[in-house]
Amino acid sequence: MLHRTIHLFRKELRLHDNPVLLAALQSSEALYPVYILDRAFLTSSMHIGALRWHFLLQSLEDLHKNLCQLGSCLLVIQGEYETVLRDHIQRWNITQVTLDAEMEPFYKEMEANIQRLGAELGFEVLSLVSHSLYDTQRILDINGGSPPLTYKRFLHILSLLGDPEVPVRNLTAEDFQRCSAPDADLAESYRVPLPEDLKISPENLSPWRGGETEGLQRLEQHLTDQGWVASFTKPRTIPNSLLPSTTGLSPYFSMGCLSVRTFFYRLSNIYAQAKHHSLPPVSLQGQLLWREFFYTVASATPNFTQMAGNPICLQICWYKDAERLHKWKMAQTGFPWIDAIMTQLRQEGWIHHLARHAVACFLTRGDLWISWEEGMKVFEELLLDADYSINAGNWMWLSASAFFHQYTRIFCPVRFGKRTDPQGNYIRKYLPILKNFPSKYIYEPWTASEEEQKQAGCIIDDADDPMEIKVKRDHSEENISKGKVARTTE
């Protein structure tokens, strides 16, 4: 019996390597590709800033375009998801709902509710995992039911599992021909909204455009640099890498515009051809494997995105300091390196991972001793590639709350910047007020004499900065020993 199916797009906003969509097409005589824009659900599950909305809407628009090319279309239905489903299950005589299986607690709850609805209204529910390389349950099973907490152990487990799931074949127009598509007028009433329709500011300075098409183009660009890819090491201290990358892929993975499995296998093919085979962690696949690592831990850890009730997270006596948190968030700490990074984050929605380390360390155990949960929320709002598992996992790592190294490492907000970009070009770009400062002083403009400051056209007001400087000096030392205290008493 062929189904009449609603396919719910949630986090897999793409057509390539979409196992559950393929399964839906193969089992249906009518297919309604739907994205339920349940704003209340989204905003209660995560913080979403304007740039992220833009990226999402662009991705939906792109998905719609690509579906149209295959003879279908995307229906974006706004409203509370259960109400929307009840309504349309009836209207369209739906017998099956397919959706991507996700591991975040709020998505799991949604799926469970849909299952219940299915039992009540008489439709089947099918979900398949495709957001990670492996089914994380398999990783847990091999490790005795608990997630590996060190990367080394994780890699070892993966070596026992073998290669990840292979991407499924691409969809064709034929697949959609066999399934009747939604009517034209439906497509019209359920078109992708514009930011203004959702009362979101249309202003967008970000060079990142959402969508599968854009993601795949970037992927190709990324891979055409083959020689480079084969000997890729994690970025060292190249100034250019701080600037928005034309081949960066993280937001596309996070939104599901790109399939990690597809990327993995494309890379594997290249490696097979290249002479020097890189092993993780330094290879490009390392980026994917780190993602997988955090997904695995998060899937098996209750209260993963908070300190309280989180079994892997050290309970640390963080300060509550709304004023300093606000200054950090609004790029007003007085440390140009930190402020430039937070400015880029707000304006463009992406910062390099070394930059993330710098500001995360500064907020938590490096300087301000404010809880990582606060930083995580800000990143969630502003980062295009914000992701439940990766964001929380990295914040815990950087704040030394979990995944310990032997020695606590603190990134100095002056020195680390200098190493990464000695000329200070990054700072000049994002903090134009400092652009005339000589490189010697640009990381610590308060050290320049008044005369030099005048020449550079920017006087550093001592009233603003000394507190922050003192914060840095007082706290780094305290924080190293505090770190020891926190650890020995837990």
């Binding site: 090491t233 020097h276 509550k320 380390h357 000096r473 305290e478 205290v485 008493t489």
Partner: protein, 433 residues
């Protein structure tokens, strides 16, 4: 509620009859599936309840104490009040739990003379530090063996008026008379209060941790070393270290020191001039205590290292918390033959190849190394590991420290290093965010 283990051994004390009856009744209960009579928990021997209570966390014990009079009596037995940790946190600014004020009142009223091992964990607020002092000043009937004042966040004891803190602390010093371990880092303790400490506890003091106590002078700590001959562990800041102190710790009357920790800290670049210690003082020190762990934490700016590492020094654990120059690390290799652990937070952009090789050559006891923002060529690093071999039980190197060269790439290096270490080794990885 966690259940403690119930001991089945019948204690020889008390009436054997009741014990037998208890056992019989329990046996009867085990055999029958339908329980007619439940065991008489209220009549359990207090010794047994005491043993059980010792396994329970305080909150559970407190709940249990409400069950009946007998259990309540046990709850208040001295044995259960020898150790206590007061946790003082302000809910407005802290996420952690705090010891209930009612409980604190009860302890002071009924148990202050039972307390022997006490610590205070205090958050960053002045109120918490004040609360700690408040409790301290009421411990008049106490004879403490250990006292720890721990600031879990900012050093909030330093926010208090000095006299307030001192008078509270003095209460303990005067009344305790057999203090053996004292942790008062980050507090406004001063010379006169140390004199009081010494006057009352010189025979018993074994451990004294007072890093970052800016009101103490070298004379103040010298007084402690002169009088407290049983002192085995000491932690202080460099400004308190003097030739006289080292000699006092090495006098014949003094026991062998086991652990000396020195924090060398500068507030602002160039502001502190560090005095020098004579080589002869270190020599006398190490002669007297040949097995001592000498731990030094350096939080200096690069240009402040001038007085250090100019001659042989018996340091065993060395931590550079800020950036340290290539030059200084070169000197470390030449002057620290007893070095066991070395941690370098940051260096610079020039490779530390020669410096590491020198350290491998000269520091024959080196077994733990940590390198942060530094650079080392892969070849030099392999050479270093080869020279140290299996004695390196701890090798924490951040991934980006290692620079690939002609001989070794990053992929190859972990095999080479693993080979020489005799175990699987990877550099420390920071996640790709």
């Amino acid at each position: 509620m966690k259940r403690g283990r119930k001991t089945n051994e019948a204690n020889s004390s008390s009436s054997e009859d009741t014990t037998e009856k208890e056992c019989k009744r329990h046996k009867v209960v085990e055999k029958k599936t339908a329980v007619v009579q439940s065991p008489d928990w209220a009549n359990l021997l207090q010794d047994i309840i005491l043993q059980v209570f010792q396994y329970l966390p305080l909150l559970d014990r407190a709940h249990a104490s409400q069950v009946c009079r007998s259990w309540n009596q046990v709850f208040h037995m001295p044995d259960l009040w020898r150790c206590f940790e007061f946790e003082l946190n302000q809910p407005a600014t802290s996420n952690l739990r705090t010891t209930h004020p009612e409980l604190i009142k009860q302890i002071i009223k009924r148990h202050s003379n039972h307390l022997q091992y006490v610590s205070f964990k205090v958050d960053s607020s002045k109120e918490s530090a004040e609360a700690a002092c408040d409790i301290l000043s009421q411990l008049v009937n106490c004879s403490l063996k250990t006292l720890g004042l721990i600031s879990t966040a900012r050093p909030s004891f330093m926010d208090l008026p000095k006299s307030h803190f001192i008078s509270a602390l003095t209460v303990v010093f005067v009344n305790s008379k057999s203090l053996s371990s004292l942790k008062i880092d980050d507090t406004p303790v001063d010379d006169p209060s140390l004199k009081v400490l010494v006057a009352n506890n010189s025979d018993t003091l074994k451990l004294l941790k007072m890093s970052s106590c800016p009101h103490v002078s070298p004379a103040g700590i010298l007084c402690v070393a002169d009088q407290c001959h049983g002192l085995r562990e000491l932690a202080l800041n460099y400004h308190l270290l003097s030739d006289e102190l080292l000699l006092a710790l090495s006098s014949e009357k003094h026991v062998r020191l086991e652990h000396l920790r020195i924090d060398v800290v500068s507030e602002n670049p160039g502001q502190t001039q560090f005095h020098t210690i004579q080589k002869s003082s270190w020599d006398a020190f190490i002669k007297h205590s040949p097995k001592v762990n000498l731990v030094m934490y350096f939080f200096l700016y690069e240009e402040e290292f001038d007085p250090f590492f100019r001659y042989e020094i018996p340091v065993t654990h060395l931590y550079f918390g800020r950036s340290v120059s290539k030059d200084v690390l070169g000197r470390v290799g030449l002057t620290c033959p007893r070095l066991v652990e070395l941690v370098v937070c940051a260096n610079g952009l020039r490779p530390l190849d020669e410096e590491l090789i020198c350290i491998a050559e000269r520091c024959k006891y080196l077994s733990a190394v940590g390198l942060g923002e530094c650079e080392v060529s892969c070849s030099a690093f392999v050479e270093f590991v080869k020279m140290c071999g299996g004695r390196l039980s701890q090798l924490s190197i951040m991934e980006e420290v290692l620079i690939p060269d002609q001989k070794y790439s990053l992929e190859q290096i972990h095999w080479e290093v693993s080979k020489h270490l005799g175990r699987v080794w990877f550099p420390d990885m920071m996640p790709t965010w």
